[in-house]
């Protein structure tokens, strides 16, 4: 163990080891020797909510550009080299984090770690790379958002829910701002946030902590820290004085859908115990065919074809509770909305039963065990929490904390957070009804059309 290079070390668990390199890089090793493979992930504590105003989408754009090249890696070769080593790689961006990962055989870990460390500090971009990739991202936006009315509504609902916090701005960016993003914007974001002290390296799989430490010191350890602490300054959300309803009429909507979002704390932003109670509240209220909303709307009242919901719990500053109902052939939006209101009122007034809580808890705790069956899912499970500022202990003690939640805790968070003024309702209706027209067109001459 080289003490000089290691600033801090703790061993909170017999399974998971964490330490920090001298340059500030946090390292977490999760040994699992069942298969001779490893997952490497690098999580940057930077996401779309850290973008400068007017440059929406730059965090995600940079994520794409990170695959272009460095002095050592020729343009476009990063993923090809990983593939030639029998590996798979990808990345994702959300409001709070940007993460890059590879899955490889254990003996390829030195190669992929060297490559990942290299692009933390030595990204190279040509103007042509940037221009072409911007077109790719505009296509990605069309696929993810513009081609899908459900996604368009969701984007509008998020903008209505977060009136000041940048969570209201789409991760992929607004189209007009994506079009204006350039190489300088990408490098500015890169130089500001891509630093060892702003990242977490997670290696899970068939490795030992000492081995990872040696490799990390030889690669990431050579990158100097940026010095002054990297600040993430985000406008925070004020108290809301009124609910908002967003309606979207779109011929492509399929069936009428009503959604309801509430602002609520995340695991990172909640008072102790509240996020666990919200997790179980939402499992009882909205998870699957035994949930309250499904039973009331679909089984008993028969006002919807389907209904459910979720808890978005991973944000740094805030989380969300969501409910949805999908209309049957003849159901109306007003009836769906009224029925959702009824479920919310019941949860606020009566909370949940002990039997509901016990069942929900059994399945929620089991998720942890099921996730631990997969090396890559385990790495992600830790990554989300650690990137939001939580500790390895927080992750490992989560099942125990769930066991302490009572029906009173759940009613308390239901009353505190299922509050009308904190909500946005979204209504999507298929108007006018759409009929696709099928027609033959002559096969065009093969034209290259390259400009």
């Amino acid at each position: 163990m080289s003490v000089a290079a290691v600033a801090a070390e703790k061993a909170p668990s017999e399974h998971v080891r964490e330490f920090t390199l001298a340059n500030g890089l946090d390292v977490v090793v999760i040994p699992d020797h069942r298969a001779p493979v490893v997952t490497q992930m690098v999580w940057y504590r930077a996401g779309a909510a850290d973008e400068p105003p007017g440059s929406s989408g730059i965090a995600h754009f940079l994520e794409h550009l990170m695959f272009k090249g460095t002095d050592k890696i020729p343009t476009g070769q990063f993923s090809k080299i990983i593939a030639r080593n029998g590996g798979e790689d990808n990345a994702f961006t959300n409001h709070d984090v940007t993460a890059y990962f590879q899955r490889v055989a254990r003996d390829r870990l030195p190669t992929v770690m060297e490559m990942e460390a290299d692009r933390m500090a030595n990204l190279r971009l040509t103007p042509e790379d940037v221009k072409t990739e911007r077109d790719v991202i505009l296509e990605e936006r069309r696929s993810r958002v513009d081609n899908d009315p459900g996604s368009i509504l969701q984007e509008q609902m998020m903008a209505a829910l977060y009136r000041n916090h940048p969570y209201g701005i789409p991760i992929i960016g607004w189209e007009h701002e994506i079009k204006a993003l350039n190489r300088e914007d990408a490098f500015a974001f890169y130089h500001r946030f891509y630093a060892p002290e702003n990242a977490i390296l997670i290696v899970a799989g068939d490795v030992e902590p000492e081995e990872v430490r040696d490799l990390a010191e030889k690669t990431f350890g050579k990158i100097p820290s940026h010095g002054p602490h990297i600040k993430r300054v985000r406008p925070q959300e004020p108290e809301h004085d009124a609910p908002v309803t967003v309606t979207l009429e779109d011929a492509r909507a399929g069936r009428t859908t009503v959604q309801r979002y509430y602002i609520a704390p995340s695991y990172a932003s909640a008072e102790p115990g509240e996020a666990e109670a919200l997790d179980l509240l939402m499992r009882v209220a909205a998870h699957g065919a035994v949930s309250r909303i499904y039973k009331r709307l679909v089984v008993e009242q028969k006002v919807a074809a389907s209904a459910g919901g979720w808890y978005t719990d991973s944000g740094l500053d805030s989380g969300r509770l969501g409910f949805y109902a999908i209309a049957g052939a003849s159901d109306a939006a007003e009836d769906l909305e009224k029925a959702i209101d009824g479920v919310i009122a019941e949860l606020r007034e009566k909370g949940v039963t002990q039997d509901e809580l016990d069942r929900a808890r059994a399945s929620q705790v089991a998720e942890f065990v099921y996730n631990s069956d997969s090396i890559s899912r385990t790495a992600r499970q830790y990554g989300w929490r650690l990137a939001a500022g939580m500790s390895v202990e927080d992750v490992e003690e989560w099942p125990d904390r769930l066991k302490q939640v009572t029906v009173d805790d759940i009613r308390a968070v239901a009353r505190k957070y299922l509050v009308e003024n904190n909500s946005v309702t979204g209504i999507l209706t298929p108007v006018p009804e759409y009929t696709s027209s099928i027609g033959q067109k002559p096969a065009p001459r093969a034209g290259n059309g390259k400009s």
Binding site: R84, S143, V299, A327
Partner: protein
């Protein structure tokens, strides 16, 4: 009960081939005493492949019955899919709510899926609940209730899903393509059915399907996790022992996919057109299958290492996603690709794709492309054996495709044996760019007629 171990001899052989190929990662199966596949036969004669692993307190099971959506009769399209959606809607003494509450209390995961040729089931349980969970699966398989109110609920959900699908460009392109390629063959019909056919399905239809298809002679099972062979044997009899010994499948004719060129445009008011293109493929037991699999990686199966990604996305920025796959259905194989491009550029994207297929048919790939493809496919094989569920899934498909219990240890050798001549031969055979079937959904704007240019860059 008999237990046949397939391992030790193959381990040695595999060790040699690995040493000879420096780039290769070692599949999980090859790791010393790591993965050992046992063929378990229950006292009642039901077979399963088992990989014991006591590292985590859980068990993953995957099973399949041959005969999937292709068993749906004309007018009852969507029946197999309907059955899968009804499997947790009550069985035996338990109505749907009682069944589903029990599922949740036991923290189990049970899923069914309808493929074209197989009905797929998957189950995960914590070791501590296994007996009750196996019992619930037994009920679901052998005594499904298909109660009227549950049936109407599920019908409404499927109909809502079809309504969304009608407006989803990818789904519309895919259904239109199947129709174009397979016409009235079962493969040409939609797995989820149509509004009309789903509206016509009755309780009797569901019971009839289960009785005909859920039978022991068409069953394959794989299990991974915290259970030993003896205990699994008993569990197999308990879960599947009451099912009929013989299935009553209707014969499915060999499909003869249409040859193009054919291009169908379905107008939909979306900013981005979605296109599906394809050709006749290569079946799983054809000697050219593995070369075709390698070729597909080079065309569009290999992400950023593929030709189509390079030409369409990386060089030209025309699309976010462009990829291809082989679909070796039991009665007819196809090769299918997909691309999504703004309406103004869809003609250009398809022209680039067609050019690449033509180039590959005429010249084959480069030596470097072939070596890279083999290096990836052999090296990454181990990644498929990362978790209990992924191992169970691999072992299930090896059984469905009848590749043999030693396939895991043979598979990389098969890929390594593929030569440039093999790939060129299969490229000439499979890639006939003037025979493409293409469906386009969106508002494609055709490019102005331009002179055909030579190969770019």
């Amino acid at each position: 009960m008999t237990i046949r171990s397939s391992l030790s001899a193959q381990m040695v052989r595999l060790g040699v081939s690995l040493a000879a190929l420096a780039l290769l990662a070692m599949p999980a199966a090859a790791k010393g005493s790591g993965m050992k596949i046992q063929e378990v036969t229950s006292p009642g004669g039901i077979k399963a492949w088992l990989v014991e692993s006591h590292a985590n307190p859980l068990i993953a099971m995957r099973f399949a019955f041959r005969g999937g959506a292709s068993q749906d009769e004309p007018g009852k399209e969507g029946l197999a899919y309907f059955v899968t959606a009804m499997m947790d809607e009550g069985a035996g003494d338990l109505d749907s709510t009682a069944f589903q509450e029990r599922e949740q209390a036991l923290a189990m995961r049970m899923d069914f899926d309808a493929g074209r040729d197989v009905m797929l089931g998957s189950l995960q349980t914590l070791t501590e609940n296994k007996d009750q969970v196996f019992d619930l699966l037994r009920l679901a398989m052998g005594q499904p209730r298909f109660d009227e109110d549950a049936l109407e609920r599920v019908r409404a959900q499927i109909l809502a899903g079809l309504k969304f699908d009608e407006n989803d460009p990818e789904t519309v392109a895919s259904l239109a393509w199947d129709k174009l390629a397979f016409h009235n063959h079962p493969y040409g019909r939609p797995v989820k059915g149509t509004t009309q056919s789903v509206s016509a399905i009755t309780t009797d239809d569901l019971h009839g399907y289960v009785r005909r298809v859920f039978a022991r002679d068409k069953l394959v099972v794989s299990v991974v996790g915290d259970i030993d062979a003896e205990e699994l044997g008993k569990a197999l009899d308990k879960i599947f022992g009451d099912l009929p010994a013989k299935s009553e499948l209707s014969a499915v004719a060999d499909a003869n996919p249409t040859q193009g060129p054919k291009r169908e445009v379905i107008v939909m008011d979306v900013p981005q057109s979605v296109a599906q293109f394809g050709l006749r493929g290569v079946s799983r037991h054809d000697t050219d299958f593995i070369p075709a699999y390698v070729l597909n990686y080079i065309i569009g199966g290999g992400g950023f290492s593929s030709r189509l990604m390079e030409e369409v996305r990386e060089k030209r920025g025309l699309a976010y996603s462009v990829y291809s796959n082989l679909y070796p259905y039991q009665h007819g194989a196809v090769f299918i690709g997909n691309v999504a491009t703004k309406n103004e550029a869809v003609g250009q994207s398809l022209a680039v794709i067609q050019d690449e297929l033509k180039r590959l048919a005429e010249h084959g790939p480069s030596e470097e492309e072939l070596e890279s493809a083999k290096a990836y496919l052999t090296g990454a094989y181990a990644l498929r054996f990362e978790s209990s569920t992924s191992i169970a899934s691999q072992l299930l498909w090896i059984q469905i495709e009848d590749l043999g219990i030693d396939y895991v240890s043979r598979r990389n050798e098969l890929v390594d044996a593929v030569t440039m001549n093999d790939v060129k031969r299969v490229a000439r055979r499979m890639l006939a760019p003037d025979r493409l079937l293409t469906t386009i959904v969106g508002k494609p704007v055709e490019p102005a007629a331009t002179a055909r240019q030579g190969a770019p860059g």
